[in-house]
């Protein structure tokens, strides 16, 4: 009955992700030296992790609920462009842009969710459709309105401080947002009934519906959250880098999904944890950026990333397996 036994810890979905993360950090400590864990070194992967992580959490929750969202790939440039066009080109107040960015996320999320719920077309395909459609719309409208595909924006100091600045000259303020999103998500997912609904949805949609869960509402809400998170990150990037581009962030799609799955979320739904996603995101960011602290030839970096990711997941998986088979030992 001890709640803190090793068994109970290992049983947690994030245990594997945590060990995978430790392993890659250790690897780069050995091969990359201690610079990697000095403040500037930490920032190098924490900044990357924060950008991915804010999107990875809602996408991970969607995956737990049994759905995929790849339209984030064009929601990021959409968010950038909206703020740049409204506040950069038309010079409207920032708060209007922010509302527009989130509002656009809500609209696309609702469309994704409604299509998935109403038509039974797999969410990969639905969001692929919106991925293309949003990319086309953003490009078409930017060219129509501004005549270019890259718009500069200078946000007022206050908004820059909140959305796009470097704290202490090194850490993106987005890291704080990421922490906030993580804490709120941990609370809602693991400590309220809504989390339970998400897990049930991914476990068995039919049974969840039969159990009285408003499956439609939960699904649509999750799609809105993921679309909004992506457009939010896009907005922050535009504010931080003072400029927005329409080109779609296809690599984000991969990076986010990798982070989520490395974080121990089961691709087919029903299992995972927010903390695991956070660990998975850090693991991915460390693997991706750690290479620059090592002496390895840069041409081989993809090879190292591939092998490290596999190793991290294998470790993760071993533990999940132990977790599922675990039960308190009888005397």
């Amino acid at each position: 009955m001890t709640n803190l036994s090793i068994g109970n810890l290992l049983r947690r979905p994030e245990a594997g992700a945590f060990l995978g993360m430790l392993a890659v950090i250790l690897f780069f400590l050995v091969f990359g030296g201690v610079n990697f864990l000095k403040p500037a070194g930490i920032a190098s992967w924490l900044n990357v992790a924060a950008n991915i992580g804010i999107i990875a959490i809602p996408v991970g929750l969607l995956m737990i609920a049994g759905e995929l969202d790849i339209s984030i790939g064009s929601m990021i440039p959409a968010g950038s462009m909206i703020v740049a066009i409204l506040s950069g080109h038309y010079e409207l107040p920032m708060w209007i842009s922010i509302l527009a960015v989130l509002g656009f996320g809500a609209i696309i999320g609702t469309i994704n969710g409604l299509l998935v719920v109403r038509t039974a077309v797999p969410s990969l395909i639905v969001t692929l459709g919106t991925l293309f459609a949003v990319a086309g719309m953003v490009l078409g409208l930017s060219v129509l309105i501004t005549g270019t595909t890259s718009v500069a924006i200078k946000a007022p100091a206050l908004y820059k401080a909140i959305f796009g600045q470097f704290i202490g000259g090194t850490y993106q303020v987005l890291i704080l947002w990421w922490v906030a999103v993580s804490v709120v998500s941990v609370f809602y997912v693991h400590y309220t009934k809504y989390g339970n609904w998400i897990f049930a949805l991914g476990g068995d949609r039919e049974s969840a519906r039969n159990a009285g869960i408003p499956t439609t509402r939960v699904t649509i809400t999750l799609f809105i959250l993921s679309a909004c998170s992506a457009s939010f990150v896009g907005m922050c990037q535009a504010i931080l880098f003072n400029s927005a581009q329409v080109s779609a962030g296809m690599s984000y799609i991969f990076n986010v999904i990798i982070s989520v799955v490395v974080g121990g979320v089961v691709l087919t739904g029903g299992f995972g944890s927010v903390v695991g996603i956070v660990f998975g995101t850090i693991t991915f960011a460390v693997v991706n950026q750690g290479i620059y602290f090592t002496g390895f030839d840069r041409n081989w970096s993809s090879l190292i990333i591939g092998v490290m990711l596999l190793a991290a997941v294998l470790m993760n998986n071993t533990f999940r397996h132990m977790a599922l088979n675990y039960a308190p030992k009888k005397k």
Partner: protein, 272 residues
């Protein structure tokens, strides 16, 4: 007293071109156990899914307390106090016992946006409910459903419905996967629910179980109500024949036993 809790008036249900239910009319009253009998594929599960809000009837009416109702989603039926154990599913392999038990109706503590899921309470209630079924192996509400045996899962699903069933309890072959002890417990629970004034709809293929708890029997044959009678009106043999889809069945045991007696040549097994 005599207004049925739940009533169906000539309900039809088709899936595309397939007509599964034809003009079903049935009533179930408070404190009454309605046994729904019928061959495989007769349409029993489809009927109760219609009552549980999973399907919408193609034609016909559903009445609760004499007033017409329409369930758009299972939630609607649940909110009116109808709890259902479906024939398949209902549990979530990768969820813990406590969470699975309370899914969709989680106990919470705290207030406002900080209402948190009460894991301790959920686990306690769930484990107790399952142990009441005689499944004493299960003592940790955090264990995942995936590691339970089929009967253990089934017991969990029934325990859940009993816990939430306010007015009507619908059980679709609840005893199918259960051991003798657990089945007896389910039958006892059904009777207990009846005594507490719930209306119970009970589906089974086991004559003995049906006769043990049923007050009222309805037999479906090919999607239509072929017989509707109360306890004592028909003999066990008649009921068995009806359950077999209206075909005349010799008494099962008798037949098999006599087969056995006349069969020769099978070796008398040595004791080990």
């Amino acid at each position: 007293m005599t207004t049925p809790v739940l009533e169906l008036r000539s309900v039809d249900k088709s899936f595309g071109p397939i007509d599964v239910l034809h003009k079903i009319s049935l009533k179930v009253r408070a404190g009454e156990v309605l046994c729904l009998l019928g061959d495989n594929g007769a349409g029993k599960s489809t009927l109760i899914k219609t009552l549980a809000g999973v399907h919408k009837p193609t034609r016909g009416q559903i009445l609760m307390d004499g007033k017409e109702v329409s369930f758009d989603r299972p939630r609607d039926a649940q909110d009116m106090g109808i709890a259902t154990v479906h024939q398949f599913g209902g549990t979530f392999p990768l969820m813990s016992i406590g969470r699975s038990f309370f899914v969709g109706a989680e106990p919470t503590k705290g207030w406002g946006p900080f209402k948190i899921y009460d894991r301790k309470k959920a686990n306690e209630i769930a484990v107790k409910a399952v142990q009441d079924f005689g499944i004493t192996r299960v003592d940790d509400g955090d264990r995942l459903i995936g590691g339970l045996s089929g009967g253990e899962r089934q017991s969990l699903a029934i325990a859940r419905a009993v816990h939430f069933g306010a007015r009507v309890l619908i059980l679709d072959e609840p005893t199918a996967a259960l051991g003798v002890k657990q089945a007896a417990h389910v039958l006892r629970i059904v009777k207990e629910a009846q005594r507490r004034g719930l209306a119970v709809i009970f589906i089974t293929h086991q004559v003995m179980h049906a006769m043990a708890v049923g007050d009222h029997f309805a037999v479906l044959i090919r999607g239509a109500v072929a017989a509707d009678f109360v306890k004592g009106q028909k003999s066990r043999e008649e009921i068995t024949d009806l359950m077999a889809g209206g075909e005349t069945m010799a008494d099962l045991e008798a037949q098999i036993s006599s087969d056995l007696a006349t069969a020769d040549g099978h070796p008398s097994p040595a004791t080990l």
